[in-house]
């Protein structure tokens, strides 16, 4: 753990330097453009200063993004519509609901696939095919259709999260529920254990490591789903709406801060699962 602090810090440091350099490079054309039109001449230092402080840069400098995040998290009341924390919360609630539904669906499907040969043979290819459908393309339709049957608000977004998060759970859980070897299953047979006993006492606990790995992927997918789901709900609120509004008005700084906020949210959600994983597996004697 401690061993990686220095390497991680140096990599992050390197990335920051690259970021600043890229900001100069990407924003310079606009700076020159402006300068030519107003007839100024740019020295290196004014160029750099300009590229790091444009209002709508192609690539905002890290400190610009940092300032924006600070302004929209710490300096705003969390109930304000201009607070990123408020928007994160909106996204988070859809993410969590979708994640719970996706995990549930995924586990149910996995149990079906493991226990029912018919399902095993027929469903799996379609589960894979379902993921090749571009969700962003049908997300608006899902929302409209659900609207038509009277479902709106959190649930449609959560359904899109569910759609993205159930897949890794199915794949992981099928693997996990099948991870007990033949001998362990035979053992259960020798004790004349029922199907449900075999499930609760063998298959489920054996699948735990797989479950947690899939949950991590599923959580990240769920967040993507919530963000995607926010784009066509009318850009009302949430990190996705911020991204979109930022994009609509060319506010790159706002886009980047929403993006980083989303990444931080994803990292902390995945991190929380990681902690639960460690605690659970430790208590189960599997870590």
């Amino acid at each position: 753990m401690r061993r990686s602090v220095v390497p991680v810090l140096s990599v992050v440091g390197f990335l920051l330097v690259m970021w600043y350099a890229a900001a100069v490079w990407l924003n310079a054309p606009w700076a020159y453009d402006k300068a030519t039109r107003s007839g100024e001449v740019l020295t290196t230092s004014t160029l750099v200063a300009d590229t790091w402080s444009q209002e709508k840069p192609k690539l905002p400098a890290p400190h610009q993004v940092g300032k924006e995040i600070w302004k929209t998290t710490v300096e705003k009341k969390i109930t304000s519509k201009r607070s990123l924390i408020y928007h994160s919360w909106v996204t988070l609630s859809a993410t969590l609901l979708g994640f719970v539904m996706g995990t549930g669906l995924g586990i149910l499907l996995a149990v079906g696939i493991v226990y029912n040969r018919t399902m095993d043979m027929s469903v799996m290819p379609w589960v894979i095919a379902s993921q090749t459908i571009p969700i962003l393309a049908i997300a608006p339709m899902i929302i409209v259709v659900l609207n038509a049957v009277g479902i709106s608000g959190l649930l449609p977004k959560a359904m899109i999260s569910m759609y993205l998060s159930f897949f890794p759970v199915v794949v992981g859980m099928v693997k996990g529920l099948r991870s007990p070897d033949q001998m362990q299953l035979d053992q259960m047979r020798t004790w004349f254990a029922s199907k449900s006993q075999t499930f609760w006492k063998l298959r489920l606990p054996a699948s735990m490591p797989y479950l947690f790995t899939s949950l991590k992927i599923g959580m990240a997918a769920s967040l993507v789903g919530a963000i995607v789901g926010e784009l066509p709900t009318g850009a009302v609120a949430g990190l996705g709406a911020r991204l979109l509004a930022g994009s609509y008005y060319g506010q790159t700084i706002q886009i980047w801060s929403a993006l980083l906020m989303a990444a931080a949210l994803a990292a902390s959600l995945v991190g929380i699962i990681g902690i639960i994983q460690r605690v659970t597996l430790k208590r189960m004697g599997m870590a």
Binding site: E55, R82, V144, V145, N147, T233, A245
Partner: protein, 307 residues
């Protein structure tokens, strides 16, 4: 109170100020209405929402509504708060565009999603092909912002007088750097931002009555917004859940929008309608609508609402 759901064509901004003002000032309430305003977005097709029953009435552009009508979705214009079109093509002079003759060989940014129709009929009127090449223009599906113009990826982009044009200005280009073509001036303007409902619902007297009250209150809102432009912008800001709009931009937008609504009392002018239809029918090889629609508008509501 009766429930009414209004689906907007785009995100919450001063373009829809009249409705927010009516809501905020209690005009709807006075009419005994409980109105829900659903913001739109880039992927929301208001027509689809209407078809799905997600809204009672929607704000849409007429080309898109007429096209939907031909697809079998009987949308009817019941009111037209916007008198004139705010659409224009904004070009960089340094890209070599000074007049419509300079378009050939250039790349032009166009909004799709049902908003491309006026552009296509304009081009066909100019006799310019839209499939690229030296004799035609290369069309690019423009995203939500004016980046292609700023990044010089396109010589011109679509803008609204009240919105994107000012984003270009804010970005640092001056009006002198730009050459704009207003659709109104080019004679290809189509009706924007009207109120549409499904045809069969109009025969229900209860619904009709609701709409009468709704249009009456909405127009009251619009006229209030025109008169009190800054206050209207503030009201819009209060209703923007994304918290992304800025006061300066919305006040300016309200000022521009007021110019577009100025000539309308809410009732559709049949002459404007005919002009729009004619323009769309002339859409070259692939016209938006193939024959003149019937019953696509009515004064049934405005007659009662405004008298």
């Amino acid at each position: 109170a009766d429930d009414v759901t209004l689906q907007l064509k785009w995100v919450t901004q001063a373009q829809f100020a009249g409705y927010y003002v009516a809501l905020d000032k209690g005009f709807y309430e006075e009419e005994g209405l409980n109105v829900t305003i659903k913001p739109g977005g880039p992927d929301i097709a208001p027509t689809q929402v209407l078809a799905g029953g997600g809204a009672d009435v929607t704000v849409d552009w007429m080309p898109s509504a007429l096209s939907a009508r031909e697809k079998g979705l009987p949308m009817v214009n019941i009111a037209q708060p916007f008198k004139s079109s705010g659409m224009m093509l904004t070009c960089r002079k340094d890209a070599g565009v000074a007049s419509t003759d300079d378009f050939k060989g250039k790349t032009l940014g166009v909004w799709f999603f049902g908003n491309e129709f006026p552009f296509l009929s304009w081009m066909s009127k100019l006799g310019i092909s839209t499939d690229g090449g030296d004799d035609g223009v290369t069309v690019l599906k423009q995203g939500f912002n004016v980046d292609p113009l700023l990044q010089k990826q396109a010589a011109c982009v679509s803008t609204m007088t009240y919105n994107e044009y000012w984003q270009v200005i804010d970005a640092g280009l001056t009006p002198d750097d730009l050459q704009v073509f207003k659709y109104e001036d080019q004679g290809v303007a189509t009706l924007e931002d009207g109120l549409y409902v499904l045809e069969d619902k109009l025969s229900d007297p209860a619904f009709e009555d609701k709409m009468v009250r709704f249009v009456r209150a909405s127009m009251k809102g619009w006229k209030y917004a025109e008169a009190n432009s800054d206050e209207a912008a503030e009201i819009v800001l209060d209703n923007d859940a994304s918290g992304a709009q800025t006061e300066m931009h919305q006040k300016r937008m309200m000022g521009e929008v007021a110019k577009l609504t100025a000539g309308s009392n809410g009732a559709l002018d049949p002459a404007d309608y005919e002009r729009t239809v004619a323009s769309l029918l002339s859409g070259g090889s692939d016209p938006v609508i193939s024959k003149a629609p019937e019953g696509a508008w009515t004064h049934q509501i405005t007659d009662k609402a405004l008298n």
